[in-house]
Symmetry: C2
């Protein structure tokens, strides 16, 4: 694997777990095993590395959700599978933490990449809701766009709660509460 890829792969994991502003280039060099000269040759500024990390982590997240819901028969099952996204909530969302990183939001290119990732994620959930309304597994009375945004918020909030309390059960309860609400409407 080339140095550039080693840098990006290490940074993806480290920015996710430890934060963008609170992870230094030096730490990325140590973790990836890439030297300083090589590192700055590929990424002259931290923001450039951040940009690639946000793009790739956002794509990884959307890909993971699509993989989790593909093949499920009903729209409701797909939505329920999405709500299980925070099954390892203590690790945090791949991109959710960036929303509270002032250093990241201050860079327009990083913020744009983050915004685009969340929009793609919400669109996937909205599609699943529409599918559920067509196949009869979800109530047609729900507005697909707003409901999708609310469900993405539940998942992002589940990550926040679990990390704040230190208990995975907080995320599980949030997901269970949302599923119960959905099912009570469908009924």
């Amino acid at each position: 694997m080339d140095s550039r890829r080693k840098i990006v792969d290490s940074a993806k994991e480290m920015f996710w777990r430890h934060g963008y502003s609170t992870t230094s280039p030096k730490q990325v060099m140590a973790e990836s095993g890439v030297g300083q000269g090589s590192y700055y040759h590929h990424f002259p500024s931290k923001a450039q590395l951040g940009r690639e990390v946000v793009d790739e982590n956002g794509r990884d997240l959307v890909d993971a959700v699509q993989a989790a819901i593909s093949g499920l028969r009903t729209g409701r099952e797909q939505v329920v599978a999405f709500l299980r996204s925070a099954d390892d909530a203590l690790a945090g969302c791949r991109i959710g933490g960036f929303a509270y990183d002032a250093g990241m939001l201050a860079e327009p290119s990083l913020r744009d990449a983050l915004s685009a990732s969340f929009e793609r994620l919400t669109a996937v959930v909205e599609s699943a809701i529409r599918a559920g309304q067509r196949d009869g597994s979800l109530s047609s009375s729900l507005d697909p766009g707003r409901t999708a945004t609310a469900l993405v918020a539940v998942v992002e909030g589940a990550f926040v709660l679990a990390r704040a309390t230190g208990r995975q059960a907080s995320a599980d309860a949030a997901a269970a509460g949302a599923i119960a609400l959905l099912d009570a409407v469908a009924r």
Copy 2:
């Protein structure tokens, strides 16, 4: 106002808006107008200041929610008022961002204070749900604890989405979606 209070008041605002790990003691001194000697006399370590900030911001948040819902006639109205908490979402939640701050979570005393604040908030929402079930404005079929956790997650997620997209409308859509779900169940 004494120096200690100036320090805490400035730090509450700065840790909230800019993050705990990404705000330095020096910045707090500059903002509060307190000198270095005085600052370190009152707060020999940053974690001690962090502890007071988490406690006070958590209490401020719970107080604000209770003030917003007190006097509302039905439990449903109280829950809806809570869901409007992210009406200035771009500023971020007073304590939500701390859940993604590794430097804060690494300190047990800070993490415990954060956890306690979220538990108090969830308890307030759960009380409102139970009140709504008693007065008939919310469905009795809902589990109060799980539903409260789900609704707190919606609000925390609404902050994340709004900050990530840079649009208040994201938070508004999440809240509207959750309210629509609740009302569809109650009906």
